[in-house]
Every structure is written in structure tokens, then in C-alpha cells.
Symmetry: C2
Subunit: 133 residues, 2 copies
């Protein structure tokens, strides 16, 4: 029941982008060096962040990444979901209808996970990237 290092690194990197006050994009070489994270691994992380429209890329020399919105308009849950995939505390919570042995009708246990998931999402949405700088 832990988040992965992808989320850890991704969030740190997003904070770096938010801290960049110049209008220049931030290259991953810089973040990799400062945070001591493998650059190649960071690239994979940013590939996800990009496809989830949290950042945009500027290719070539003097390029890098830029937040696609102001830091106050990006919440932590968006970042977590982009990097961890859709939140599901159990397999029976993934997908539309539960898969094995979990008829949503009779399953009291499911009520626990439903409420738990909603709470997690609510908490993470409350925090904006701008709260972390």
C-alpha cells in the first residue's frame, strides 16, 4: 500500500518545474542532476505526465518541459493518477463491474473500499502543486 518511486520522482520534478520562474523550459538533465534521479527513468515519467496534459515539451537545444497550466490549477491527485494509473485499492474496485466473486450488490466490504477511495481522491485533490513550493 505504497506509491511507487515514479510518483515520488514525478512529484519532485513537477515541483521543480513550478519553481522555475524564468520562461525557459526546464531540461531533464538539470532535474536528474539536482534530484539524483536517472535521466532515462525521468524521461519515462515525463512521457506519462505529457500524455496526461500536465506538461508540454520543447524539443531541441534550450528545450525542456513546462507546466501546461499554472501550478495553482494542478492538483496532486492528477499527478498521482497519471503516474500510478487509475486508483483502485483492490482488484474488485478496478474496471466497471467487479471481476471475480464480487457482486457489487451484496458486497458489504465494497462499501469500505468505496468510501476509502473517495476519501483518498478528495484529500489528494485538495492539494495543489502551488501548495508545495
Amino acid at each position: 500500500m505504497m506509491f511507487t518511486t515514479k510518483t515520488e520522482y514525478g512529484l519532485k520534478a513537477m515541483v521543480r518545474l513550478a519553481q522555475n520562474k524564468s520562461k525557459k523550459p526546464t531540461p531533464l538533465t538539470q532535474i536528474a542532476k539536482e534530484e539524483h534521479i536517472s535521466q532515462s527513468y525521468l524521461e519515462q515519467i515525463f512521457s506519462k505526465l505529457k500524455s496526461n496534459d500536465l506538461v508540454f515539451a520543447v524539443k531541441g537545444s534550450e528545450g525542456g518541459y513546462v507546466l501546461s497550466r499554472p501550478a495553482s490549477k494542478i492538483n496532486v491527485f492528477e499527478i498521482v493518477e497519471a503516474l500510478e494509473g487509475p486508483l483502485a485499492v483492490f482488484y474488485c474496485m478496478a474496471g466497471e463491474s467487479g471481476k471475480i466473486g464480487c457482486s457489487a450488490k451484496g458486497c458489504l466490504t465494497r462499501r469500505v473500499w468505496d468510501e476509502l477511495q473517495k476519501n483518498i481522491i478528495k484529500t489528494l485533490r485538495k492539494f495543489k502543486l502551488s501548495d508545495l513550493i
Copy 2:
């Protein structure tokens, strides 16, 4: 960010114990059969439940497991914690003082995880085993 099958199976098994109205202990052979879980795996799960004082064992023929308290006095978090270990959404949240690169003082990100963890625990504590039968 998912709980393991140990928690899934363990919780189901605990519900079984709670449903047992007779005063006889419930043997794992029975639960294994009914829930289609490997008995050996269940034994490992119950070893943890026992060491966390959630159940007690009766050895020998006619033996099995019994809840160590009324179902209304056992909450879901206790079961989850027994089977997943101490909750920590990140490595920096494990142990007393964060380990690597996370000085609790300046770390704003930690505030997010602190609040998240407290929320998860609060939600899971709210549900009692008796709510699931």
C-alpha cells in the same frame, strides 16, 4: 497503490469467523474450501492475525480459530495493518524520522502524505467487522 490478496483473503476469513454463531472454533479447512483459498496460504495469514491478537487458536481435532473480541470491537484498520504491516504511503513516511533526502522540517510534500495517511486510517477505523456481516 493496492492492498494485497493477504488483506483481501484475511478480511473475508475474518468475516467468516464473525458469522459463526456457534461457540465452536472455525477450522481453516472449511474457510479454504468455501472461499477457494489455499489452506497453507490462509495459515500464514492467520499466523499474523493471531500475533496481532485479533484471533486465538484452538489446536487439535474440533479446533480452529475464534475472534479474540466481539466483531463490533474489531475495526478494519486493525486487520489491514496486521496483514500489510504499518501503513506508509511513501518510504519517507516509514520509521520515525524519514530516511533519505527528506528532512521533515522543510518538506512540504510530507504534509500531503501526513494528511492522506491520517485520513486512510480514520476511514478504515470507522468500519467495524460487525458492519460487514
